[in-house]
């Protein structure tokens, strides 16, 4: 009885998270564009799917992704081997980014811009290799970002110093990068962090900060995602300059 109640309240919470989208789309469709809602039945089923999906995701987060991220952080901290921790950090950043669907889409888009802008020859082969090069560039930059972020947690450096360096890097690269690449580069920072990466990386950071003496999980534990969205901008502009 109690668990049934818990399921209902979890489903209700997910529905509440979704409600703003339903209201916005409903309002613009009915009141502003003044058109009926097409495929009403399918939309209702879709909404039910989204609500179920969000509920299962949050459940799985607390059961699987958060605990494993923290367990590994504690295990690395107690083992005291920084080399393997940094290897893990790189693998996690690189591995989760290279297969990211949003990144694949952005890379293909960038390749067609480069072809239209005359930066590369306009044929399928050159486009594919350009897009693939870009994907590897971004994935390496995210791996690199997680390494720096983990190293910062170990050393306890204030995050703002590294962010200032990163921002300066972005500004300097903007001056020299070809203008066609700038929009893509700025956007690539936002698309790299997927829904599975974020909870894992957050749990890793918080776990590390709470198992290393003298670190505060609130001040030192967060910030990994911030680096993962900053370095791709610099690397992608660099890629645009080199290729």
């Amino acid at each position: 009885m109690n668990s049934l109640k818990a399921v209902w309240s979890a489903l209700f919470e997910s529905f509440r998270d979704l409600l703003p989208i339903i209201l916005v789309i409903g309002f613009f469709q009915l009141a502003v564009l003044q058109q009926p809602i097409p495929n009403f039945g399918e939309i209702v089923i879709g909404i039910v799917f989204v609500v179920i999906g969000l509920t299962l995701f949050v459940q799985g987060l607390n059961m699987g992704l958060f605990p494993i991220g923290e367990t590994m952080a504690y295990a690395f901290a107690s083992k005291g081997n920084i080399f393997w921790l940094l290897c893990f950090a790189f693998a996690l950043g690189f591995g989760t980014t290279i297969a990211e669907p949003a990144l694949i889409a952005v890379a293909n888009e960038a390749a067609s811009i480069a072809a239209t802008g005359g930066m590369i020859a306009d044929n399928q082969q050159d486009r594919d290799s350009y897009a693939q090069g870009l994907r590897y560039t971004v994935a390496i930059s995210v791996g690199f970002a997680i390494i720096i972020g983990v190293f910062r947690i170990i050393k306890g450096w204030p995050i703002q110093y590294l962010i200032v360096i990163g921002y300066s890097g972005v500004v300097i690269m903007t001056v020299f990068a070809p203008p066609e690449i700038i929009g893509i580069a700025y956007d690539s920072g936002g698309v790299t962090t997927s829904t599975i990466t974020v909870p894992l990386v957050t749990a890793l950071g918080v776990g590390l900060a709470s198992s290393i003496k003298g670190r505060n999980p609130m001040i030192d534990g967060f910030g990994l995602i911030a680096f993962a969205s900053l370095t791709p901008m610099i690397f992608v502009m660099g890629y645009g300059m080199l290729v």
């Binding site: 789309i25 097409p38 509920t55 799985g60 699987g64 972005v170 829904t195």
Partner: protein, 270 residues
């Protein structure tokens, strides 16, 4: 209706492919390097399966219900015929796009509230701060940041001003804010910039940007259609820092007025 369920199976299979490399890295390091038994391994594996299933349902639901309608809406709202119907002189100025700005604001806010990555970070921040940072407080602050960011990003596409002006002045603003913000919130605020834009926000916002850039006269979709995501990752940093500054300032004022009231001797009644 049936095709929804068939699509669902495909989407779940796709998600499996996204998760396999991550699981391989985690369990590879766990068993080869760390060589320590994982407590509650069964529970963790069930958790992974729930995440898989959950994302499958979530993505299929979005693709079936909300994305097609949202994309269509972005197209219709940016259609010059629709925008011209609101103005009499026939020359489109940037303020004639007010429905587009409003839609950008509203859809930015609404999709961010439903973003699973942000929910994950909010849950973690709530745990770590022992409840001091409410999940809703953080999510609403971030969502407002995304809403303002996307509305401004749409304004940029309409006016055709260079993207880097906005982003670089945004950086300067964030750095100034950082100097005055409470230390505890800084890392979380920087993180919230990266988590806002994933599964829900990117497809709808990208459709809006490309739609607008291909209909506003003088814009090139390839050059001007991008950049909305960048706005959506920058402005939440400001809004979260601002939210923390505001609550700190309020608290200080309350304490201040409380101590002042305590200092003033009460008037004798009668």
């Amino acid at each position: 209706m049936m095709h929804l369920f068939i699509d669902l199976v495909y989407v779940i299979l796709d998600t499996v492919w996204d998760v396999v490399p991550i699981a391989a890295i985690i369990f590879g390091f766990q068993f080869v390097i760390l060589r320590k038994p994982v407590p509650n391994l069964k529970r963790i594996i069930i958790g992974f399966l729930l995440v898989l299933l959950g994302l499958g349902f979530f993505l299929e639901g979005l693709q079936a219900a909300l994305f097609p309608l949202g994309r269509l809406m972005a197209q219709q709202l940016t259609d010059p015929a629709f925008i011209a119907s609101n103005n009499s002189d026939g020359i489109l100025q940037w303020w004639d796009y007010y429905w587009v700005y409003l839609f950008a604001f509203a859809i930015g806010f609404a999709t961010t509230i439903a973003e699973p990555s942000l929910l994950a970070v909010a849950i973690k921040a709530n745990q770590v701060s022992a409840g001091a940072i409410g999940t809703w407080g953080l999510r609403i602050a971030v969502a407002l940041g995304v809403a303002i960011g996307i509305a401004l990003g749409v304004f940029r596409i309409v006016t055709g001003t260079p993207l880097y002006w906005y982003i670089i002045s945004g950086y300067v603003f964030v750095l100034v804010q950082t100097m005055f913000a409470p230390r505890l919130i800084i890392a979380l605020a920087y993180d919230s910039g990266g988590v806002t834009t994933s599964t829900v926000t990117v497809p709808l916002v990208a459709a809006l940007g490309l739609g607008l850039a291909s209909t506003v006269p003088g814009r090139n979709p390839l050059l001007d259609g991008f950049g909305l995501i960048a706005f959506a990752s920058l402005f939440p940093i400001m809004s979260v820092l601002g939210y923390a500054q505001l609550s700190e300032w309020k608290e200080r004022r309350n304490q201040h007025s409380a101590s002042r009231q305590a200092a003033i001797p009460k008037k004798p009644t009668q």
